[in-house]
Amino acid sequence: MSDAKDWPLWEVFVRAKGGLSHRHAGSVHAADAKMALEHARDTYTRRMEGVSLWVVPSAQITASDPADAGPLFEPAEDKIYRHPTFYSIPSHIKHI
């Protein structure tokens, strides 16, 4: 098998069922968007995992720098009051 170095990488997002968000499933190599969708279908939905697919060129994703993790994420750690967990929920409310 070649390393497919001529085919760019695409990130694959799968929606498991209507109403849920697309979630990142992995990536595939493909020459263009059409091929990427086919490869994503054959690689990530062969066991009924999904009802909808997105493919995005990996190069189009801008990621945060792991080196910035401290300033970006640590300040949230001691702000538990931002979670709506201080309300008592009536017992007959099921879906919240």
């Binding site: 098998m1 070649s2 595939v28 190599h29 059409k34 086919e38 490869h39 054959d42 690689t43 062969r46």
Partner: protein, 252 residues
Amino acid sequence: MAKPDPLFIYATRLGDDSLILGQRLSEWCGHAPTIEVDLSLANVALDLIGQATHFLGFAGKIEGRNRDADALAFRRDVLDFGNCLLVEQPNGDFAQTTARQFLFSTYQELLLDKLAGSTCEDLAAIAAKAVKEVAYHRKLASDWVVRLGDGTEESKTRMAAGLDWMWRFVDELFEVDDVESKLAKEGIAVDRSALRAAWDARIDAVLAEATLERPAARRPVLGGRRGHHSEHLGHILSEMQFLQRAYPGATW
């Protein structure tokens, strides 16, 4: 021995087409150009083997001699196989495999679409399920024909060579013998010859997009439906049937 039931013959032909092509495609497993293509081919192969299980299971039921799909797949001899010659042809390179898939899946989708309206409920149900799978096979193969045909000089040459190799086995797909014409009159079988015009139109449309010429007409090679196979089928069976021949009834 009594002559086999025509419906048994017809169902095994349908099953054998799927079984042999599925086995052929499986040979790519671990050898395809990329891991994604490897998975695509394996998926198509598994779809086809699933169809074969249904068609041969039904054939066994009609026959009534206590042979299930496995018995028919693994313990019949080459002369008893009724698949068309196209599906047993060698994989060659990826373009040759693509050519075979493109020609066959285009035909099989048209066939199954009609078979879904068969007066035989079992065949209709199998066809209705399978036709969705095959619509994808046809799309996948057509996309590759266009990519390779309208690609580089080398990919175009290979795609054209693959089509040229497979072309002499096309006419057999639309051949109708007495067994099938009688079943077709009863609304059970599909009249294959009536699929040709639609097949030609679909093939030509894809070839045009792929900037490929339709291969020159060749003297057709026939005989697969009557068990007259090319040398390739025996080799396929010797590999496919080895385990059940060496260890009859083995399970795991």
